[in-house]
């Protein structure tokens, strides 16, 4: 491991991570502010009753029906499409770095160095995953700080740490898949387009599966199915399997991406 290259990659990827953190934290804070302003009981009634209940439960994620209350609202923040879009965009953009180096024309400059392609990819992965860990944990723990400061009664620190870990696992699964796409695609825009399309389809599969029984069995194929913050906040039985699936998918996709990277023309 070259700490110098690790530091360099951190500096290059850092601004994007900072903007991602700022974006999702700002939105999370607004959502908590709205919850406090409307009042927990009224918000609960607004969200979990009526015709939109099923859709909201599907967006909040998880295998079973989401109960009402503040944890369900927190899960809704975590899985809100805006939060997901920002997080997925950052991970996908970072993950498709090989294709983007090809598209930007900088690939010759980097990959002609006396270091193997795999090591270059690992250096990049180390930096991006460190940043993703920082962003997801910061988001999770700051949500709790804001909730407490607003006089709300969130679950304990450890529940938020676990939820942050699940968010990190989810982001890593997106990152790993993006690495694979980036190693297969010809250039950056093609890779980003493919990644965006794939993740949009997987998200739709998860949400539609949550409200339509016919599609429900296929939800297992969606990474979003395993990103169930409510399970994490409640330390439910599915938390362990969800973490295993997400980290497993990240590892498998990244290993496949290394194979593809070794074999491809740059």
């Amino acid at each position: 491991m070259s700490w110098r290259r690790f530091g360099f990659n951190l500096r290059r990827r850092g601004p994007g991570a900072a903007w991602t953190a700022l974006g999702i934290l700002g939105f999370g804070a607004l959502m908590l502010g709205a919850y406090e302003a409307v009042g927990p009981a009224a918000m609960d009634q607004l969200l979990m009753e009526g015709e939109g209940e099923g859709l909201l439960r599907a967006i909040a994620g998880g295998g079973g029906g989401a109960p009402g209350g503040f944890p369900a609202f927190l899960a809704l923040i975590w899985r809100h499409p805006l939060i997901l879009v920002v997080l997925v965009m950052y991970a996908a953009a970072a993950g498709t770095f090989v294709a983007r180096e090809v598209g930007d024309g900088t690939v010759d400059l980097l990959f002609s160095r006396p270091v193997s392609r795999i090591r270059l990819a690992l250096h990049d992965l180390a930096a991006v995953s460190t940043l993703l860990f920082g962003v997801t944990m910061l988001f999770s723990l700051t949500l709790r700080v804001i909730a407490v400061s607003l006089g709300l009664e969130p679950p304990g620190w450890s529940e938020f740490v676990v939820a942050g870990l699940l968010t990190f696992a989810f982001a890593m699964s997106i990152l790993g898949t993006s690495y694979l796409i980036g190693s297969l695609a010809r250039e950056g825009r093609q890779a980003l387009g493919l990644a965006g399309g794939l993740f949009a389809a997987l998200y739709a599969l998860d949400v539609v599966g949550g409200i339509w029984e016919v599609v429900e069995p296929y939800r297992v194929a969606s990474l979003f199915r395993y990103f169930a913050p409510l399970e994490a906040l409640a330390r439910g039985d599915e938390l362990g399997p969800n973490l295993a699936v997400l980290f497993g998918a990240a590892t498998a996709a990244f290993c496949l991406s290394l194979l593809a990277l070794e074999r491809r023309d740059l």
Binding site: S2, R4, R5, F8, R12, D104, G105, T106, V107, D108, L109, F111, S112, R113, P114, V115, S116, R263, R264, D265, L266
Partner: protein
């Protein structure tokens, strides 16, 4: 030992044959020009040599080692890409530090910066603010800064003004005198003539010829500058195989001969020749001869 070896190196992109069974041997310590028109296969060859592309067939060797499997051999190589793109968010200094960090020491950096007139103030600026000439200079510095044994330069003088070009040649000459091998791809024949001891000419992915510049000049073409006492019909010269032109007045002309020169000299001996000079052909004439003719048998 050969610095570069290409053994039947072949590259296909789908149905397009970008490179066809290229055989190349560049001994250590030489300055080697790799000539060809745009799209001839020069950059593909270089990217195969560096292991950026996988050959369809054949092998590439740098100092006897496979650059794809044995990436450490690239420590001995400095490379300037033809289509140079830099990281726009980095300053020149950050870029040089980052790329130099792969090698440890960068003993030639200061010398190269001075020769190419890149100041400390220039290096503090983001590369997105650089002109194309400054980018090329920075690209050259990153290629030479670690004093590599082999320099692979794809169009090195692109975007440089004539003064900086001269400084570049002096810098490269200095590195060559210290033992570096220089492999230079270009279609600017003047710089090859200035720098190179040996050349290879490639067309449509096929090697047309390779050899020493002086040897090619001697063997391939004869260029005569003729002044006559009075104008005469030059058709007999053309029939003897000479290409006549450009005519400077009615009694002065040049006469280029590829192949046997004896019949041309015989015709000239019957003409009222006032003066006759034999100049070595310029490299561009050799190049154009190869490009104009059908596939040569090579050397």
């Amino acid at each position: 030992m050969a610095a570069i070896q290409a053994l039947e190196l072949t590259k296909h992109y789908g149905r397009t044959q970008a490179l066809k069974r290229l055989v190349l041997d560049v001994p250590e310590g030489r300055v080697f020009g790799f000539l060809g028109a745009n799209g001839a296969g020069k950059t593909t060859t270089i990217r195969l040599l560096l292991g950026l592309l996988r050959p369809t067939a054949g092998t590439a060797r740098l100092f006897g080692r496979d650059p794809r499997r044995d990436v450490a051999v690239r420590r001995e190589v400095g490379y300037l890409p033809g289509e140079l793109s830099l990281y726009p968010e980095l300053t020149g200094q950050e870029l040089l530090d980052h790329l130099g960090g792969f090698y440890g020491a960068t003993p030639v950096r200061k010398e190269a910066l001075d020769a190419l007139e890149l100041s400390a103030a220039d290096l503090r600026r983001k590369t997105r603010e650089y002109s194309s000439g400054m980018k090329q200079k920075l690209g050259l510095v990153q290629a030479v800064q670690h004093a590599p044994r082999l320099l692979i330069l794809d169009e090195p003088s692109r975007g440089l003004d004539p003064l900086i070009q001269r400084s570049l040649f002096e810098l490269l000459g200095g590195l060559h005198r210290r033992g570096a091998t220089i492999f230079m791809s270009t279609h600017v024949l003047f710089e090859v003539q200035q720098m190179c001891q040996e050349v290879a000419i490639i067309r449509s992915g096929e090697l047309l010829v390779t050899g020493e510049v002086a040897e090619l000049q001697r063997r391939r073409l004869h260029r005569l500058e003729v002044a006559l006492e009075h104008p005469v019909d030059l058709e007999p010269l053309r029939q003897a195989g000479a290409v006549v032109g450009p005519v400077d007045g009615p009694d002065r002309f040049t006469c280029t001969v590829s192949g046997p020169i004896a019949p041309v000299l015989e015709v000239l001996s019957r003409l009222p020749v006032a003066s006759l000079a034999c100049a070595p052909p310029r490299l561009d004439e050799i190049f154009l001869e190869f490009y104009a003719s059908p596939r040569e048998g090579g050397e």
